[in-house]
Amino acid sequence: MAEPILDIQNLNSWYGKGKDRVQALKNVSLTLAPGEALGIVGESGSGKTTLAKCVLGLVTDYQGILRVNSSRPQMVFQDPYGSLNPARTVGWFLEEALRASGVRDRKERKARAVDMLVQVGLTEEHYGRKPARLSGGQRQRVSIAAALIQGSKLIVLDEPVSALDVTLQAQILQLLADLREKYRLSYLFISHDLAVVYQLCDRVCVMYHGQVVEEGDVDAVYDDPQHDYTKKLLAASLALD
């Protein structure tokens, strides 16, 4: 097996300070292979967001082993209305990522930004637009473009479709699947929606109170859940469908 792009062993993490310091992750271990998509499922407070923040380097209060074998892992946020700068155009934002990674040539930046827009199903026409003139789905496509344009291979997706309606969800999930194959991306896909995880991920990791309670291939976990909490989650999602 190739070296994992993400290797986490016995990770413990806390948030808060002093008396209010609370343990958010307890002995979490997981690995992610290049090109693999791993779903992290759990309700709010289960530690899945803290895990993502550790991977992205936004949380530093942790102990254990955390190895990231990718330059600057990026994130696609849940709310497509907050993840783009309202005062700047789409093209400017994409080019800003390139400026930050040292691409000095203007023409090259523009060409790469436009190319990335096409990759996520938009056109050159969207290059000069501000976020206010884009729909929710288009914004999420731009967010994805911004996450990919620096060439990062590890992408953390934090509920990237939960703010979208069902038709759009399917389109964005398809786009994510296509991009993953094309660029051999690894996804850490955070969600509370089991159906969405089932569609996009190879493996799933169920978190409960800061611990990984169950982990395995999506088919195995969905067909034959072992942990009580996983069974409850599955039952709840079936009831909704």
Partner: protein, 268 residues
């Protein structure tokens, strides 16, 4: 998308252009010398040769309001330049980074803001002496806290937004995030704050000149003119009427522009 006609902005801009134009004219041209004394014209009422009349020394009030308006405008703008630039940088850094330095700077601002700026200005002038440039310096420094507070609030609002997080993940430097990513989003609020600050600066200069600690003769300003004219108000009301009118138009225009900006902001 149809936008309601923004009367505040339209009318405010018109008045502002008018009063700024009036002040700008005063920089280059006045019909008479603003300081030329003529005993024959003492207390002359408004007429064709002296549009706004003459004062107790026979000086042409129209010429003096032109010069006074330009002095008031330049002082107010210079005060804003100091107060806004320093306040913006201080508030942006405090709001974005937070922490102990932020708490310290804000307590200092609270302490300064606890006193009326004219009162503090009086103390500063007592120490460094009166005159146009000292007034600018004193008021400019005293205006820093209000702008710092305004800017801090805005940057605090934006620092945890996802687009700022995304920029951090991309590896954009903090200073660039502050001044290139966040700043353009804060302009509507900061600009409307700037219009309020302008009016406060005009009034503060007028108050200080009125108290005799602002602009010193032979220089003049609108506040100084009102101060000089108060003894003659009953007999020659035009001495106070015209400089006051020019000042009111200036404040009203800029104030309405501010209101217009806020209204447009509310439209979004």
């Amino acid at each position: 998308m149809e936008r309601r006609k923004n009367w505040y902005l339209t009318l405010g801009l018109a008045l502002t252009v008018l009063s700024v134009g009036y002040s700008a004219l005063g920089l280059f041209w006045t019909p008479y010398s603003p300081t030329a004394i003529s005993t024959a014209d003492q207390y002359a009422a408004p007429s064709v040769s002296h549009l706004f009349g003459c004062d107790h020394m026979g000086r042409d009030v129209f010429s003096r309001t032109l010069e006074g308006a330009s002095a008031t405008l330049t002082i107010a703008l210079a005060v804003l330049a100091i107060g806004f630039a320093a306040g913006l940088v201080l508030g942006a850094l405090c709001g974005y980074y937070g922490g102990a330095a932020d708490a310290f700077v804000m307590r200092v601002c609270d302490a300064v803001a606890a006193f009326p700026s004219v009162l503090l200005g009086l103390v500063v002038i007592a120490v460094i002496g009166p005159g146009k440039y000292n007034v600018i310096l004193a008021l400019g420094v005293l205006f820093i806290p209000s702008f710092a507070r305004l800017a801090r609030g805005e940057f605090l609002k934006y620092r945890d937004r996802d687009f700022v997080r995304a920029a951090r993940l991309m590896g954009v430097s903090n200073l660039r995030i502050i001044f290139v990513h966040i700043l353009p989003n804060t302009w509507p609020v900061l600009l409307s704050g700037l219009t309020i600050g302008f009016n406060n600066a005009v009034l503060a200069e007028a108050s200080m000149s009125y108290l005799g600690i602002g602009v010193t003769p032979p220089d003049t300003s609108l506040g100084r003119m009102i101060s000089e004219a108060q003894s003659y108000f009953a007999t020659s009301p035009w001495l106070i009427l015209f400089p006051a009118l020019v000042m009111i138009l200036m404040i009203l225009g800029v104030g309405m522009v501010g209101e217009g900006i806020r209204e447009r902001l509310g439209d979004k």
